[in-house]
Symmetry: D2
Subunit: 118 residues, 4 copies
């Protein structure tokens, strides 16, 4: 079992033990995921991009941000499990496309304003 499967398994058992699977529809979990991302944004919204690059030097901020990232990871993992999507495989499939679309030759050093990952 990979570490991601183990996390999904723990979340599944957590929900089962409390009879909360009934609430864990994809719709509800997607909303919870968005809510947690909102809390993460709130940690970074008034900082400059440069300040956010060093935000983990502040111990209190670092603890809050680690906690928010964990919450996002938890709901994403649970949602993917409920939908039976394998996140790592799905991510690599998208990156295979990105490798072809955003070729190094064309995009390296580009001043384009929108440098995405996918």
């Amino acid at each position: 079992m990979t570490e991601l499967e183990a996390l999904a398994d723990r979340l599944r058992r957590f929900a089962q033990a409390r009879d909360w699977e009934q609430f864990h529809t994809p719709k509800n979990l997607a909303m919870a995921l968005a809510g947690e991302v909102g809390e993460l944004l709130a940690e970074l919204q008034w900082l400059t991009p440069e300040e956010t690059a060093n935000v983990m030097d502040d111990t209190a901020a670092a603890m809050r941000i680690r906690s928010e990232l964990a919450d996002v990871m938890i709901y994403l993992t649970r949602l993917a499990d409920v939908l039976d999507v394998e996140l790592i495989d799905a991510a690599h499939a998208k990156l295979d496309e990105s490798d072809k679309r955003y070729t190094v030759e064309t995009y390296r050093g580009s001043a384009r304003k929108a440098p995405p990952l996918v």
Copy 2:
């Protein structure tokens, strides 16, 4: 190297090869993460919770949702890497707290309206 470390590594090399690390500040990546979650919500917003439970039976919808989940995973992994946060460990630390806070004895079968994971 775990599968999550391998994904983070691929994303780091993708950015480096295109000289896009300058854009990958935590602030920017958090916004991109939120944008991708918004696209995921759009796939589920008009469906009932029950319909979303079976949404993967629709092949076209399943492909779109898998793709959106992948995008969310990609930006979350990249953001955590830039912030030097280990997502799996952070998630288990939060779940250790949830285990204590939401005890099975008290919460099982509860009709409470807000059954969270964290």
Copy 3:
């Protein structure tokens, strides 16, 4: 002055009085807007759609939801003001398009799953 202009004016003066205009870039305000929407989602995420239709009957929930809607309105108004966008005019322009795209003849009573406003 319309009521929306008066609200935008109050927000502008609030920021000026505290010398906070420097923080109110479109990027920062858009993140704050998203953060507030996340808090609104958190109020509704575990309820069924039917339960959310009656959520204002619960006085405590109603107060929280009104407060979250207010926060969203405040950041949207401030963001539009900073960008010099007139929200009401912009909304009607989009609805003019929707009137043409989603004609009553074609869409009325449709079982289509995605009935948008825009």
Copy 4:
């Protein structure tokens, strides 16, 4: 009728004419609102805060951003109408609290990193 009431009225009639009120639960509309905010974030995510302050000088970007702001306004107005919340009144009530909490004397010129509106 104020301009905001007129917009809410137009949206209500738009939905009624297509028999789409059944889809416009608070839960669904909140998700749609979040989805539109995600599209707005996508317009600003790779720009610096300074670049976003001048983003409306770019005609194409300005059109897209105006359009996204309109979409957010439309779903917020519709959601507030369905919940019977008066957005302007609710916003002023929150700002009355902010006036007291963030007094000019204490907060003016403050180097604090988190200067909110509410």
